[in-house]
């Protein structure tokens, strides 16, 4: 039994949406709420994907007792054996996936910390330049250091959902990814409506005012970059696990820095629901372009990919100029009403 192509399209769309939702929501925390122009989002995403490419296969092979001489060289054979082994071992697969995601988030956070450390005290443009430049570095390492993700050839990633009935592998993956993305969205909603979130907005709107009120701006900035990068890496790792392969060249400035920026700006910075909408619009648009690429190709004397790049550039510039607040503008901070505070105060007085 095979699924109809429309259904495959939607299943794939949901998975891609979930991955990009996590990344754009994390960028929204950094840029929308804290005002840090993270032009190196790709760094964290690639870091997470590289963890997904190098860790779970080795872990699974080790726990299943499969001999590993050279993981990258014998990658295809080992991954095939691992997938067979994981077919009857759902709990091991889940444990390894969890370990991978935790490791990815840790690596992402560390990368965010290291990349922004030199510019942490400087103005936002220096921070942006530093992050952009550092992000270029990780691809150079991934490309030239084969033990990580197979260098120029890439690696296959062991299928952590090998235990699911094959026809349902992709639908189950999409549902899981979407569930994780929803959890991230809820976590972010709670974070930005916490004292931390309000502090971040205060710093964004006036660093000096926030500093005079005793807020440690550098510390806050680093904290946000670490959280944002950890989430970005989570997204990258999920994408690696979902796609079943990682190759360094796939992690470029356009797909993992520029697109998330388009999603955030289009949806509305500092509005998570807006960013979720912007991401949906963007991912659907992109998916449709890829889906109907074949239709356009005979009429164009050049590759459709470039038209895609030109259109996105123009759309983003137009949004910046004519709708800078995005689809959904930022809303005032959600606070408890006066009545409720009074009720709480009374309740406390009564006890």
């Amino acid at each position: 039994m095979s699924l109809p192509s429309e259904l495959i399209f939607i299943i794939d769309l949901i998975a891609l949406y979930a991955v990009y939702l996590i990344i754009s929501i994390s960028l929204n925390l950094e840029y929308g709420y804290a005002g840090i122009p993270n032009f190196g989002k790709m760094l964290a995403v690639a870091g997470g994907a590289f963890v997904a490419g190098s860790l779970p296969g080795r872990l699974a092979a080790y726990s299943l007792g499969i001999p590993v001489e050279d993981y990258v060289r014998d990658n295809v054979i080992i991954v095939t054996q691992v997938n067979v082994g994981l077919r009857n071992n759902a709990s091991l697969a889940m444990l390894i996936s969890l370990a991978t995601l935790v490791a990815a988030a840790g690596v992402g956070g560390a990368l965010g910390f290291v990349a922004s450390y030199p510019a942490r005290r400087l103005r936002e443009d220096y921070l942006a330049i530093t992050l952009l430049a550092m992000a270029e570095g990780i691809r150079v390492i991934g490309y030239n250091y084969p033990p990580l993700v197979g260098g120029t050839l890439g690696v296959q990633v062991a299928d952590m959902l090998a235990w699911v009935i094959p026809e349902f592998r992709y639908p189950v993956a999409s549902v899981l990814l979407f569930a994780i993305a929803t959890i991230v969205l809820i976590y972010m909603h709670l974070t930005v409506n916490s004292p931390l979130g309000r502090t971040l907005r205060a710093i964004r709107d006036s660093e000096i005012a926030a500093a005079t009120l005793g807020k440690d701006i550098v510390r806050m900035r680093m904290q946000v970059l670490v959280i944002g990068s950890a989430l970005g890496a989570l997204g990258g790792a999920l994408y690696g696990l979902y796609a079943g392969g990682v190759i360094a060249t796939a992690y470029d400035r356009v797909s993992w820095t520029f697109w998330p920026w388009v999603m955030v700006v289009l949806g509305g910075a500092a509005n998570n629901i807006g960013v979720a909408m912007g991401t949906l619009v963007f991912v659907t648009f992109r998916k449709l372009i890829t889906f109907y690429k074949g239709v356009l190709t005979p009429y164009l004397p050049f590759d459709v990919v470039w038209l895609d790049l030109i259109l996105l550039g123009i759309v983003l510039i137009l949004v910046l100029m004519y709708r800078p607040q995005g689809l959904l503008p930022e809303k005032p901070i959600f606070t408890i009403s006066r009545d409720e505070i009074q009720k709480m105060a009374k309740a406390r007085a009564a006890t």
């Binding site: 840029y31 005002g35 122009p37 032009f39 450390y117 030199p118 510019a119 005290r121 400087l122 936002e124 443009d125 220096y126 942006a128 330049i129 530093t130 952009l132 430049a133 550092m134 270029e136 570095g137 150079v140 390492i141 490309y143 030239n144 400035r253 356009v254 520029f258 920026w261 700006v265 004397p301 050049f302 590759d303 990919v305 470039w306 038209l307 895609d308 790049l309 030109i310 996105l312 550039g313 123009i314 983003l316 510039i317 910046l320 100029m321 800078p324």
Partner: protein, 332 residues
């Protein structure tokens, strides 16, 4: 003598056998690359000084020049040197368009700082897409190799050295002398310096601030285009040749202090030489595998500069040097 290693280009064959190499090819490569970086970082610094926006599209201005050179050599059968003015004007007009059509309206609308940077990033991709379209059209219409093309053999040779070895330093010198004279001896240059210092006050005394900004973008784009035109006579050309140099260009400007034109020259040569000679000496000590990691050098340079002297080398004055020396003496 260490084995010849050209980290950027394996296609180059030095004239071994019979001919005595008077000059280490590595030094020559470093001089050429440093000069080309200098042209780029000078332009970047110029736009940053005036408009205060780091232009992430600056690398792609160089690619424009690269494709002018390709068109000159393969379609019109001309020396790329003859078409340098065209490279200059084309890239200059593109940079001007970025400023006038996109950045100026955004600045007038009081867009956030990050939005201005995103706009340059968006323009970069727009331009990159158009250059790729041009490359595709070129290879279809004229059967020209428009990706990873080599124009090294279009360069003239003089006294057994490639022409670039002479042209690049001359171009840098001419640029910097011209900028120096303009800034110190002409009325417009003085107006430009005033605008950098305080745009609002300059406007009050009747300086056309917009014109100053527009001119600085024009010159910056032009220098980028010339650099890209020359670059392709030395390494293989491709649409991503400019964007891939972006970390090096920013490193050069940051080392130079980002607000100092002469600093950009210092930074460009420093980063260029560090990348070429540094990689080769590391390769000599550690092993040739490090050559591939050359793009990491500008990242280290950015990191170290921002940690130790965030305002760049040119901002290290006599006083801070004296303080450093005193501290070192005291610690002993």
């Amino acid at each position: 003598m260490p084995p010849f290693i050209s980290p950027t280009d394996a296609l180059y064959c030095p004239t071994f056998g019979g001919v005595v190499e008077l000059l280490d090819p590595l030094f020559r490569d470093a001089i050429i690359y440093g000069g080309l970086l200098t042209l780029l970082s000078t332009g970047l610094t110029l736009t940053y000084m005036t408009t205060k926006v780091p232009n992430f599209a600056h690398g792609t201005f160089a690619t424009v020049g690269t494709y002018v050179s390709l068109t000159a050599a393969r379609v019109w059968n001309q020396s790329p040197y003859l078409l340098l003015p065209l490279s200059f004007f084309l890239s200059a007009l593109i940079a001007l368009a970025l400023y006038i059509i996109i950045l100026r309206p955004l600045i007038r609308r009081r867009s956030s700082f990050a939005f201005l940077m995103v706009a340059t990033l968006a323009f970069d991709l727009l331009l990159l897409g158009m250059l790729n379209v041009y490359a595709d059209l070129l290879s279809r219409a004229f059967k020209v190799t428009s990706r990873y093309f080599v124009l090294r053999f279009e360069d003239f040779r003089f006294a057994d050295q490639p022409g670039l070895f002479y042209v690049t330093p001359i171009a840098v010198l001419a640029t910097i002398v011209a900028i120096h004279i303009a800034l110190t001896r002409t009325k417009f240059g003085v107006a430009m310096r005033a605008t950098v210092e305080n745009p609002a006050l300059s406007g009050v005394v009747g300086i056309n601030v917009n014109l100053v900004y527009a001119v600085s973008w024009f010159i910056a784009g032009g220098l980028g285009g010339v650099s890209g035109s020359l670059l392709t006579l030395w390494i293989a050309g491709n649409p991503d040749v400019g964007p891939s140099m972006l970390p090096s260009i920013f490193a050069s400007s940051i080392v130079g202090g980002f607000l100092n034109i002469y600093g950009a020259v210092l930074g460009g040569y420093l980063v260029g030489i560090a990348e070429i000679l540094g990689t080769s000496y590391f390769a000599h000590w550690v092993g040739s595998f490090v050559i591939a990691y050359r793009p990491l050098i500008p990242l280290f340079i950015i990191g170290i500069t921002l940690l130790l002297a965030p305002a760049g080398l040119t901002a290290i004055g006599k006083h801070s040097l004296a303080r450093l020396v005193r501290r070192l003496v005291a610690s002993k």
